[in-house]
Symmetry: D3
Subunit: 238 residues, 6 copies
């Protein structure tokens, strides 16, 4: 089984991090194919970045058995589902579903404050009202998570605050760049701390094992063919 893990931004070092997190949980016989977006923003920290990350995702989508979109905004998820032959899982989606199986209410710990609205939108789409109890931002930019030696500590401190403030019992890490923090944070906080990349890979795998792919009935059927022009003409659906 081949699982493609797409880093929707163009930063190779972040792809490496994501790949490591994915490989750590991939089952025997599962080939992880990590790929970096060939176009668009170096990190995704605004609606603008997110919108312009989607073409890169659609450009690299291949014929793997399943796909994981490794950015917590789940950019382009619906479009990718129309295009792909196999299941497509977003990491916010995967993490929130996993959180629901482990506790009564979760808090999201994310990077910039301005991205909290998107996290709330996704929670409204994926989980029942009240399951996502809060979204908290450490205000460390995505690309500094790795380089800033204090980042891990700050994220754990914020998660601890979130558990108390929100009266929650599970932590969801709100950025692919935090993938490496889950185990340590879980040990320190003594609650489940969920990395969406790992969760996305095991869920994608699970759907392939079940023999299931996105419904082709109606909305997620292949996009109808039509003319595309200008800078984006190479995206013409056939």
């Amino acid at each position: 089984m081949r699982v493609q893990v797409i880093n929707p931004n163009t930063t190779e070092s972040m792809t490496a991090l994501i790949e490591a997190s994915a490989r750590a949980v991939a089952g025997p016989g599962v080939v992880v194919e990590a790929v970096t977006s060939p176009m668009g923003p170096a990190s995704i920290e605004s609606h603008y970045d997110e919108a312009l990350a989607v073409p890169g995702i659609l450009a690299v989508l291949n014929d793997a058995d399943a796909h994981v979109l490794a950015c917590f905004g789940d950019p382009g998820l619906d479009a990718a589902r129309e295009l792909a032959a196999g299941p497509v899982v977003g990491i916010a989606e995967a993490a929130m579903h996993a959180a629901m199986l482990l506790g009564r209410g979760f808090s999201v710990v994310t990077t910039l404050s301005r991205t909290r609205g998107r996290a709330h939108d996704l929670a409204a789409r994926y989980v029942p009202p009240g399951a996502c109890r809060g979204v908290h931002a450490c205000d460390i930019p995505v690309l500094e998570l790795e380089s800033d030696p204090a980042a891990r500590k700050e994220v754990v401190a914020l998660a601890r605050h979130a558990l108390d403030h929100d009266d929650s019992d599970v932590i969801v890490l709100g950025c692919a760049g935090m993938a490496g923090f889950a185990a340590e944070a879980s040990a320190e906080l003594d609650v489940p701390v969920i990395d969406g990349v790992a969760a996305g890979v095991v869920l994608a795998q699970s759907l392939v094992t079940l023999g299931l792919r996105p419904s082709g009935r109606g909305e997620f059927a292949s996009p109808p063919p039509k003319a595309y022009t200008g800078l984006l003409r190479e995206f013409t659906p056939s």
Copy 2:
């Protein structure tokens, strides 16, 4: 006052239709600037089309006093709000808000069945649960609305069915390509029939008159500058 009306697809004849609908309601002293997207799909009928219509919208956004996104999926609305200096209004948003002021519950009449999910998503974002009572598709492709002489009749018949089936009292036209149908349909059905393009223009104008622009607090502040690469490098935010 300048109001930019953006046709997110690349079909010029549709821009002309949208422009006519906009000019018909623009106030004295309001300059309507209609513009066609320079890239991407000829019509928007899938999540894939919609995702690839967003870069074109962001590319043409200018320094007008307000902006209207003239596709019923409201593509790229959040990203445009981050980028624009003035208010940005989507036509689904405008039509649904107007509908709420005129009746208890509205039905949406749209083009392809596969776009109904998007309409429901937007309703969940804009209006209280229960306000949008149904979304009905005539399954006429967007670009045939104009050319198909039977289209108008079919849309009106579908609206009549929707009013009865959904127990609604207002009709929202779910495609910019239906802009020309509103007056006649309203007369025939004896309920408000709302064209989002016209609604969008008067709402955008209203916000400018009120001296209001999108909140710059948090989420809709200008996108942070960063590197953009590949095909989309011209979108680098500064």
Copy 3:
């Protein structure tokens, strides 16, 4: 175009304030007809006051092209819609719709604590769950807003607190008596601050421009004629 702006309480000085706010945004060719309720309470600060303000509103409703009910409780809105030939807009309704177009979540700043429940009820009717993030009271009585020189400052301070406490990005002023505070508060707080009177006037105008009036299908049709007796016999519908 004639827009009637009804002050549902009997205090003339408040009508003058409302009229000024309305005229400031009325378009060219729009005649603002401000009117004071001829009966009932001098200000509206309880469910009791609100109930007894409704007959006065219905008594003065005229044949203007549109009507604005200038009390934040939107008293008698449904009844007025049945009676009027043109659109009727409440100022809470108008302000909340405008807020939705400008940010992700708004806070309401109002007068007496006891009116907060009504504001929450209206939010539940007009906007999706979560859009109204909080309702805060300064506990200055309605009729002291104008005379109390400290009122403006207190309202702005409360709005600042609300933005932080509620994590909101737009302020809605929850009383027609605060109409004069919007511009200054917006400048100080650097977020949109919405006066419902002004918002109501531009929205009412917009609906007239669109050629739309309340749906006569079902619930908002003219009230059926019948006998009325006693003190209220002059209200007999014909």
Copy 4:
């Protein structure tokens, strides 16, 4: 214990019907005080009627131990709670609460189609989403329910349809004028059929027995005193 049962319309014969329904369930030692509104509409079949029924209710509210508002629109409930010393119960409120204790989902069977919106509004206020499964109108005017010999049969037939259509298991009668139909309908349909007048009386009684009255904290405290003028000056709160 004295329980005041207020008929919010001015039709004496309907008060007699309501009184009979109330007396049939009043406990030993409970004095039912039925009263007809001294002003306003002869029946309540529009938002306009309802608004103009409220002053009459407030005018007759006495010093009984509890009060029942015997119109299915629960007109003036909040205002009456501010004014009364004891509990105030609306019959829609009472019927819907009782329905929740007896089944999973109820249907409302009411008079005119145009009143269905109000029933839905009340359900949204009183019960969780999904509990009220439908509101069905027989389109027999309120004052013909008694005189029309076929009315009872039509209401039962409509209730039977509602149970099947809505997949509900309890019927709520949506008009005080249907008070006499409950027992027979229940026998015929073999599901609980709830008359709000009877339900209101036993619930009001129950609250008195429990020694409970509306919370005076905040919103339901006595209305603040102020000037009232014109036709309604006799309503001046003291």
Copy 5:
């Protein structure tokens, strides 16, 4: 009329307390039959306890006219409704319904923190979103409520905190063991304080007076007969 009040735990002293609370509000001619569960946990403070309290409830359910389940988790309510000939009321259900008739929003004050999730689940089932404004735990074990002389004071202090924190206006006592605290707490806090046992008894009585019993249509019909084996074979439904 016979009303059976079931203590779902096995502690006789708690049954005595519940019985006293029930008798204090039972109407003339109402026989209160208090009974202690013959099997299972001595108190109910976990999902595990609650699950294992249900067989005992079902074992003692008799042919009374109505039944009250006197544990705030309302254990086994649906199953008891299938089995009983008359109405069955849970005390959380009764208390929450009563609270809705007396104020705008209530807070629950309960025993152990770990039971708050169950209280929220029940609120979601019984009342509209937003009616239950908070659930607060004093962390005094159920069986120490009676013996700990400081318990009453702590519960009142917690209720006072809850009213302010939640901006609520009614208190619901979240444990049958607090039945004796209601009157005193209500006097001290000057808001309605509701004991579910008393509320349950008067509601159960009310339903009998109305001649209503759980709907037998569908879900609450008698359980279908089938084989039961092992330890629980005595529960075989016939």
Copy 6:
């Protein structure tokens, strides 16, 4: 890794069916331990059956790495989470989560009509409003699913009807006894058809792979020790 799959009813042939479905998807190195409840009902078709199936589940819960509760009512899930050392997944929960990853809205196809309420309750707990579009019953008793040669055909026909009626794009099989129908139904209907047993096993496995177990913070901590008496004394928690 050991995954315990618990059949909550006492019918051995159904355990065999469940075991086969579980083994078909278990990963390499995963040991499936299927077990039949030692007490209680032969099948679960009422709230009464469900309540009395819970003790059997709790009695057999062992020290496996994860547990699957193989009855679509997810009986005893919260209690099992308190007791187990590893993750516990219900099959309704698993199937609904999987459905959310594959389409926009699902329909449940189940056995007896009277169990539909439970399915709706679970959907309200697991997925956002609107995701579960309908619950349809074939009214074939659980234990006849296997023996009735027409059952498979009827279930597929009902699923086809559900897709059209509910405008859904995924089918969830609402009974462990339908485990064998998924593949064939999926092929015939050309949409994902989800068997909760298989979905439960892969999800449980996934959580173990992620190193996650139910949060011990608060509600799902081990039940507090206390006295248990009577028939259930062997369940005394230690």
